[in-house]
């Protein structure tokens, strides 16, 4: 990878011994998009990158060999679930999550915090941590920043996420501010608790809801800490897209250019393209894999609901231009027929959807490399929506703020 000719020089991250090294950085001359080459303990990574979610130490129904073949370079694991089953002691014995699931490339683990939002009726948040009643066995768990890091240390992931005080983006008022400040304090506790700073990176998570001032305060404070990267959290929870993108732009304005930016919970194709333009590097979402299991196949012009009767006699592959294992061999009609009868149908569609996401990111990277990203965005939007009238307004607006005018 050659250094970027444009703004921003290649630079090492905070310290020489950090387990994340930015080998090179290239920036789009028009938008805020960047192309990074990262070195992690378990391998190299190019961003922008999409990280499929393998919640319980497996990507549902897909063997690690298949993921390697698709070119997947990093997976996400979930501390909350794995902490409960099979538990950190067992995973430690198995040589970490890498050893347990036999994934040789990079792993990122989240803190378990997001479950606070999704399982909120079970959770009580205090300064100490989050008190859960485990849905598995009813036992009470107190998830503190220290405990979260302890579990993640046992999991041995390349990138760990801080435990943050997450509030839903639809919540407003003093709770949001409280959560923002608490997240900063928890970040410091997480940094202190990391027993493996040479082998495992810690990312901070910017909070502050949809309040620009709170976000700015959070950003100002958090970027003072010695972490390898930053996540933009508290979004992608059902808020209006107009508010969503503004918070993203605000964050990327303040975040240091030489460290990766991880936008959590974003995975729809349009959102990925726009947020790359806004300056984000890493993304995760359950959507592509979850929707596959409901029979929905992602394509450049939307999605196909393969369970629908209209596909019963449709003998084309999901996407004629896709060369994933599913599209090379199976028709929509066969997937429709198989869907009710065998789990293999879910796997076929999951493989395709992951291939779709990874190919999308690959095309994005290639276009940034060639300095053609705005052209790519134009082509992408045209293919997806057909005509300018159909383009989502928020996307048009967001892109215009980074100098990409759609025609």
């Amino acid at each position: 990878m050659s250094p970027a000719p444009g703004p921003g020089a290649p630079s090492a991250s905070a310290s020489a011994s950090a387990p994340l090294r930015v080998v090179s950085r290239r920036e789009c001359p028009v938008s805020r998009a960047r192309l990074l080459q990262l070195e992690l303990p378990h391998g190299e990574l190019q961003t922008p990158v999409f990280m499929p979610v393998g919640t319980q130490g497996t990507l549902k129904g897909i063997a690690v060999r298949q993921l390697e073949a698709l070119g997947c370079s990093i997976l996400l694991g979930n501390t909350y679930h794995l902490g409960a089953r099979p538990g950190p002691e067992l995973i430690s014995k198995a040589n970490g999550l890498h050893g347990f699931m036999n994934w040789k490339r990079a792993l990122l683990t989240d803190s378990g915090g997001f479950q606070m939002v999704s399982l909120v009726e079970l959770a009580e948040v205090t300064e100490q941590g989050v008190r859960f009643s485990s849905p598995y066995d009813g036992k009470e768990i107190l998830l503190t920043p220290e405990k979260s890091i302890e579990i993640q240390n046992a999991l041995g992931s390349d990138i760990m996420m801080q435990l943050d005080d997450v509030v839903s983006s639809t919540v407003s008022g003093p709770r949001v501010e409280e959560a923002m400040y608490r997240s900063i304090r928890w970040l410091d506790r997480c940094i202190a608790a990391n027993k493996n700073p040479e082998q495992q990176n810690l990312f901070a998570i910017i909070q502050g809801g949809l309040d620009a001032e709170l976000r700015k305060k959070c950003l100002t404070e958090m970027i003072k800490r010695d972490v390898s990267g930053f996540a933009i959290g508290g979004l992608s929870g059902g808020e209006e897209k107009d508010n969503f993108w503004r918070m993203v732009t605000l964050s990327t304005e303040y975040l240091p250019r030489e460290k990766p930016r991880y936008l959590m919970g974003v995975g729809y194709a349009t959102d990925l393209v726009v947020c790359v333009a806004l300056g984000c590097d890493m993304f995760d979402c359950v959507f592509p894999t979850r929707t596959a299991r409901f029979g929905s196949a992602l394509v450049p012009w939307g999605s196909l609901q393969l369970k629908n009767r209209q596909y019963a006699k449709d003998f084309k592959p999901i996407d004629e231009d896709c060369d994933c294992p599913t599209c090379k061999r199976y028709t929509r009609a066969y997937l429709h027929a198989l869907f009710r009868n065998d789990t293999a149908a879910l796997h076929h569609i999951t493989i395709h959807n992951i291939a779709y996401q990874l190919n999308l990111m690959c095309s994005i990277r290639e276009s940034i490399r060639q300095g053609q990203f705005p052209v790519f965005i134009q082509q992408f939007m045209k293919r997806m929506y057909g005509s300018k009238e159909q383009y989502p307004c928020w996307a048009v607006e967001a892109l215009s703020t980074v100098n990409v005018q759609l025609e």
């Binding site: 063997a63 347990f100 036999n102 028709t331 065998d342 293999a344 796997h347």
Partner: protein, 527 residues
């Protein structure tokens, strides 16, 4: 005209038998007036229609005072594929089906199992994960239970079910029923059979059945048959009815098959019914043999309610009557010990559903099947018969050319046919080669004992699952209801089962079946 040519070349005194007429048929009255020949050796290597075959068979059976039983009545239509039997030892057949499939380029090892599918997919597996398994057999087993509801789609698709399911190069065998799903009885009629698909019961008439086969274009398919599981002690009337219906269905299928351009390279398998009544079973065999089928399916042995001994004796009686040169499939038999018993009784091919059933229970196959050869005191090798049963015109004729009657009688195969099946092999009382440590057929990976067990499912197993994952990981996947559990277990279980069949083939070839049986039975008793 092949029959006429044979006529000229054959050294047998054909003058004792009326020659065929110009159109290839035999005049009935001429036939009946023959003198009793020295040796009955009636060859019909050429296309025969069912009427001719049954007519001739009737003639033969009706001639009294035969010096030798006509065991070599080979009413062979030109089945494209050929069965080459390398040996028959203690009732176990070892060989190959060659020239199988549309291009005639594939072969199937015998004894062997089929690749079980549901709606054309090996359960849980995609093409890529299936490719991780070694020793995947041909043919692929499709069932009308799981594909019948897609008949219309296949008719419109036009390119055959092989390509539709993503297996365009594979040999396909289509049966009626899915061995892993229950098949309620009481629904078949004189004109229809019912299969149970994802959407419920599907009633199939003969013409619908044949329309499906023409849309699917399998390489082999079983004839339509009334194979409803009959309770033991079912009335003779009901059993007789199932035999009669099945024969009627077979004739109906054959008629359409022979007129079908699309199915001209496909083989139809005759189905042997008859419940648990020996006479009916034999009747079914004899009648079915008269038809130009490519092989035979032993049906009605699926249920667990027929006790073992009568069941096995019945199977032996059936195979004892069947011609040597055509494959014998059996439905519903999959457990290791039962498979061995059936191989010993002349069965060639088995459905491969057992690994799937175990996978669905969260179980991994772990039984040992590597018998060790004991260098000392090895049992004497039985005299193996050479490749007598290559059904090639020239070889067969020249073989008979040189045989005298005494040789026919002394022929191992011939005398084997006289016996009712394999009988009891003495199980050697040599110690198990593993020196005492035995493992049961399966382990239940949901059991707590595997929670922190970081060994592979089975030591020495070279499958993808055992090379990459541990029992602890499988335990985790099963207890968290993860889809990957089914994928990995299926890979291991299939791999193991195919290895077992390779071991069977080796054991039959090397005359070590008694050792393999001993090893398996020991493990069965462990449970």
């Amino acid at each position: 005209m092949r029959m006429l040519e044979l006529w000229k070349r054959a050294p047998i005194t054909w003058s004792h038998v009326a020659p065929p007429l110009e159109n290839g048929t035999f005049g009935c009255s001429e036939w009946r007036h023959v003198e009793k020949p020295q040796c009955y050796c009636v060859l019909f290597v050429g296309y025969t229609n069912i009427w001719l075959s049954s007519f001739l068979a009737d003639c033969l059976y009706s001639v009294k005072d035969l010096p030798i039983r006509p065991s070599y009545v080979l009413l062979a239509s030109v089945t494209k594929m050929k069965l080459i039997l390398s040996s028959i030892v203690n009732g176990c057949r070892y060989g190959k089906l060659i020239e199988v499939g549309r291009n005639g380029s594939k072969s199937v090892d015998i004894p062997g199992c089929l690749l079980y599918t549901r709606t054309g997919s090996v359960p849980h597996l995609t093409h890529d994960t299936l490719s991780l398994i070694e020793g995947v057999p041909e043919p692929v087993h499709l069932t009308l239970s799981t594909v019948a509801e897609h008949h219309e789609v296949l008719e419109e698709y036009k390119e055959g079910i092989g390509k539709f399911i993503g297996m365009p190069e594979s040999i396909l065998y289509c049966s009626l029923h899915d061995p892993a799903s229950p098949c309620p009885s009481g629904y078949n009629t004189n004109k229809t059979v019912s299969v149970w698909g994802g959407g419920g019961r599907i009633e199939i008439t003969l013409s619908k059945f044949m329309a499906m086969q023409q849309a699917f274009k399998p390489d082999w398919y079983q004839s339509m048959a009334d194979g409803e599981p009959l309770p033991p002690g079912a009335s003779r009337k009901r059993v007789k009815k199932s035999v009669d219906r099945t024969l009627g269905f077979l004739d109906g299928c054959l008629k359409e098959h022979q007129n079908s351009e699309v199915l001209k390279n496909s083989e139809i398998l005759g189905v042997i019914e008859g419940g648990d009544i020996l006479e009916e079973r034999l009747r079914s065999v004899r009648e079915t043999m008269k038809r130009p089928v490519g092989g035979f399916l032993l049906d009605g042995f699926q249920a667990d309610d027929m006790p073992d001994d009568p069941k096995l004796n019945l199977i032996a009686s059936v195979t004892g009557e069947l011609p040597e040169d055509k494959p014998r499939l059996i439905h519903g038999i999959g457990k290791p010990d039962e498979v061995l018993e059936c191989v010993s009784r002349g069965v060639d091919l088995f459905e491969g559903f057992f690994p799937y059933v175990m996978t669905e229970q969260g179980r991994a196959l772990t039984f040992k099947f590597k018998y060790k050869v004991d260098p000392e005191g090895e049992a004497e090798q039985k005299d193996l018969v050479g490749p007598l049963h290559q059904v090639q015109d020239q070889q067969l004729i020249s073989a008979y050319n040189t045989m005298t009657i005494e040789q026919c009688e002394g022929n191992h195969i011939y005398s084997m046919l006289e016996q009712s099946g394999c009988g009891d092999n003495e199980i050697s009382n040599k110690a198990s080669d593993k020196g005492g440590k035995t493992v049961p057929f399966t382990i239940d990976l949901k059991s707590e004992q595997y929670r922190a067990d970081f060994r592979p499912l089975l030591e020495d197993c070279s499958c993808y699952c055992c090379k990459n994952h541990t029992r602890a990981y499988l335990y985790h996947l099963l207890t968290t209801n993860e889809l990957l559990a089914g994928v990995l277990l299926m890979i291991h279980n299939q791999h193991h089962y195919f290895g077992f069949f390779q071991s069977i083939r080796d054991a039959v070839r090397d005359d070590k079946m008694h050792q393999l049986k001993e090893l398996i039975i020991k493990q069965k008793l462990q449970q």
